[in-house]
Every structure is written in C-alpha cells, then in structure tokens.
Amino acid sequence: MPNIGSYDERVKNFNWKIAEQELDYKSGDVINIGWYCSDRICQMGKADKLGLIWEGPGGVEKKYTYNDIRLATNTIGQFLRDLGIKPEDRVCLFMDKIPELYFGFLGILKTGAIAQPLFSAFGDESLFIRIENAQTRAIITQKKHAPKVRKIIEKMPWLEYLIIVDQDPAKPLQQREVALNLEELPKVETFEIYPTYAESPSVLHYTSGTTGQPKGVKHVHYSLISQYLTSKWVLDLRDDDIYWCTADPGWVTGTSYGIIGAFSNGVTQCVLDSGFSAENWYRFIEKHRITMWYSAPTAIRSLMKAGDEIIKKFDLSSLRHLASVGEPLNSEAVIWSEKVFGKPFLDTYWQTETGSIMISNYPGMKIKPGSMGKPFPGITATVVNADTFEPFGEAGKIGLIAIKPGWPSMMRMYWNNEATYKNKFKNGWYLPGDRSSIDNEGYFWFVGRDDDVINTGGHLVSPFEVESALLEHPAVAESAVVAKPDFLNMEVVKAFITLKPGFIASKDLDLDIMNFVRKKLSPLAMPQEIEFIDSLPKTRSGKIMRRILHAKEWGEEIGDTSTLEND
C-alpha cells in the first residue's frame, strides 16, 4: 500500500495539519528546516542511521549518519556565525554536488541566514547578476570554482567572504577569502539554532523569465510542510528506502527533494557527483540498491538512447518506485520505463516558485502515459481562459494552468521585484506560465510554456539573458534567441545572429560565439545552433519578432505578420 493510500480519499479529507502533526509542529512554534533535517531525526532514534552516501569522481565514496549530518551542519553554522553572518543574510552555495553543499545548506538555515544555491556551471556574468541582486554577504565554493568569483569580486564590495571548502593549505588565500575545511574543524556538538518561524526566509532560488533579469524566488521555513508531505505521498519515501534524487541543489528540485524532503523524512539518500553515462548510472543503482529514483526526462531519454541491452548487465531489481520532474515526460518514456524497469516513471509537475509538487501522478493511481496527473491533495488547480482568467467549465480546452494560492511552500516574493511578483496573480489565481488542458477524468495534459522561456533539460533559460550576452561578443550586431526542438533536452537554445561589418560567418566564428556564451552564462545557455542571417524579422517599430523565428523552428504557422517590417 503506498503512503498516500487512496488519492480520492486524501483529496476529500485533506488538511495541511496532517503534515504539521507528523512533524510535531503547531502554528506559532519555532520551525527551522536545518533542525528538522538533522537534529530531529537523531532525536527520533536514528542518529546512527545512514543519511547520505556520496560518490564522487573516480568512485570515491563517503558515508554520513544522521548524527554526522547534525554535527557537520552545526559546525558550518558555528563557522558562519563566528564570521558574523546574521539571520536573513544571503549566503550563496556555489559548489558541485559535494557533501559540503548539502551540509552547508542546512548549516546556513540553522543560523537563520538565507541559503542562495547557484548552479556551479554558471559563468561569471550569470553569477554576478544573481549575487548583485541578492547583495549576498558570503559565497561558499570550491577552489575549482573560486576563479570565477575572483574575476568579478572587485565589482562586489558588499561581498565580505569567499569561503573555500577545499583550499590547499600550501596556497595563500587572497583578500576576503577564508578556508573552511570541514574535516579539520572541531565538531560542534551543541549549536544554538536560530529560532526561525513559519514566515522566516529560508531559501533564495533564482529562475529565468522571458524579459528582465533572473528573479530571486524567496521561500520560507514553513515550506517544509509541503516538501515533507509531497516527498512522503508522491515520492512514497519510506523508512527503509535508499533514495536517489539526481537533481543538482543549484536548482529547486535539488533542495526541495534532494535535501529537505529526503532528510526531513529520515531516509538514506545517495548522491552521485560525476558526469552522466548510462553505464555509470545503472552501476550506481545496482551498487547501492536504490529503491526510489527521482530523475528528469532528459536523463531518462538519454538512458533510452543508450539502449536496452546495457540494462541486462545490471541487477536493478531493487527499484521500487520511479518519478520524474523538470519538463513534461513523454508517453514513450513512461512506456519504455515500464518495459525495462517493470515500473513507469511517474511525472510530477511544479516549479521554483511553487516550492513543491503541485500536479502529479501518484503510486496506486491509474497512470495515463504522457499526462501530468492530478493536483496534489490540498492543491486547487485548474485551467483558465488566457484573456478572462476564468476557469473553463468543460474538458479538453487549452488554457493557462492556474493554482489557488495558499499552500505552505508557495514563494513569498521575488527578491526586490514586487511588480513582477504581483503580475503572477490574476483573478485570485497563481499562474505558473504554462498551458495545458484537463480531460474528463481530471487529468492535466501539458501543452507548452505561455512565454518565450526556453526549457532545456528541465532548466529554464531566458532568451533575453542569452541575447544580452551575445551582444557583448565583438562580431554580433543583433541577435534573437528561441527554443529549438530537441529529442533529449526537449528544447535547446538556438540563436539567429546578424554580424557587424567586417565579420564573416564561419564555423570558427560559430564556435567562438558558442564558447563565449558558455563561459559568460552557462553551458545550458550556450546556443547549440547558430544561424547567421542578413536581417532579423522586426516590427515597423523595430522590435524583433521572435515568434516568427520560433514558429519556423517548430514548423508552426507564422500567424499575423501585418506589423512586420518590409512585409
């Protein structure tokens, strides 16, 4: 019997107090995610239980009990407090998926400061924009990523500390740099955890929009209530599970379900911090006897591409439950996973702003391959007319996904961006920016984004950010960036470029521009295809008509071109 029991019964009798009671939390109590994910589990008699099994490049393995996690997070908390980090200060985590990232996240929360995780592959410009917006006080990183921070540190007078977790003692530290070697620091047995409350800020994740700079999504400690319960009911986490969430905590899945959901449920989780290969992933599952696997469509399609033969080399019989997130999971992938693993990947739908799963397929519920599933109990979701923001009364109509605000892990604001935050709410609904329909049995079916944001491998990329970076390249006169369909990543970045006089299109220039964006922003934002053209389609007022280029890439009707220049 799955943890959720009967989905329909749960919907009828739902109250968030179910999670509050399981977590022994009452309204008005202190609630600190750092404590719930470490100290509380120890107090429940699981101090010696393995909480984290980490494997890095070259097969290096480290194991940590919940007591180890408690001590490590205390130690980092004390280290930060001794530096003068105060509640609500922003502390950025800019690291690969190493243990210090997981412990650093919880350690920051224990001090009452706000954890600001950023994807370690970000280039210096992506990093600067986000650090500037948050006015981050300290960055915790590895020596391999420190050069990217050093490159921009002079532009960031507000940044007081660059904390390096693996600093070579023989090498001198530079100004504002501090070494934090967790294995050498004395373990802090008792740490006074800052008394955060339900609405105290916890996490600041950055997400991209069509226009403007990335938005800092502020979450609070009360988000735990949603993250705990959805982990239990959707991911079906149980005490004896060996859980593997493949997401990077630089993104929201990696924190909501790769840290908070897993540790607050007291399960053993595994982390693989090395690049993707089908063989390596299957070996990892076999070695650690993974039971619950939460991954992403891009990875699943990469595994499909690697073929079925390779699977026969491994014993994957430990797998009990599979789920997917990041972009819509195509029906072929669901059917394939049922064929090769004996169980389907269940698609889950949510986003950075929602903080936890909103619409999902559930263990024990009838699965319709390709469908997003149904709203989580306690979540009121529908599809509304894009003009009136009124819900459709009939099945099959395509409109905007709309969710009634009020669940615990809902974002509380966009950092320094009240106007954009308010714009996400219409007619009493929160609009995630996606389109779908609902069938006559209440299942949601994803259609696409309602804006120009590119979803590549489950990560959102702003065309505006890429276009801005492109314009800094000496050869680029103008650019327009759109999504291009891609089998593995669903979408990839494609750039249309006009060149400045004196520059000639060539394969070498193409590569130079790709690498320029990769280093400035991130590998995700790097155009995987560049098309050099003589002029971009524009309106008579000079605005680039990105939708015409998008339609061309997707083989769609171009639509109204009456405002097109030179039409």
Binding site: H145, G275, S277, M526
Partner: protein
Amino acid sequence: MEDMKEIIKTYVTNEYVEDDSEVTYDTPLISGGIVDSFSMVSLKRFLENKYKISIPDDKATPEAFDSVNKICLLVNEYLK
C-alpha cells in the same frame, strides 16, 4: 597522433578547466565532471572544425568523449 592528443588536451584545458588542475590524456572528462553534456556540443564542434570531419550524434557519447585518448580514437575513425 601525439600532436592531436596535445592539441585536444590544450583545448580542453583552456576551454573547460576553471582552476589550475592538470588534464592528462587519461583524465576523465565527462565522468569527472570537467565537461558536461551541454558543453560536449562545443567540444564536438571544435573537433569537427579542426579536423574537418563530421561525427555522427549517436557516436558522440559520454563514453567516447571521456578522455583525450578516447576522443583521439574517435576522431581517427572519421579521419580515415
């Protein structure tokens, strides 16, 4: 072959290594987290431009790109 190894090693070091870590001909590039799956596209493009070859997408696997030595073997297949 030695020239090719050195050219590719130098390119990988300059383009994908952020600190002063040394890359050898056998350093794991993909499984070692030096080159990610998105960046592989630019590495493949470099090889195609440099050696005037075309590597089919289904041959550009993480395994085939996992070290300078393996990349050289792949490139040599298409140089013939």
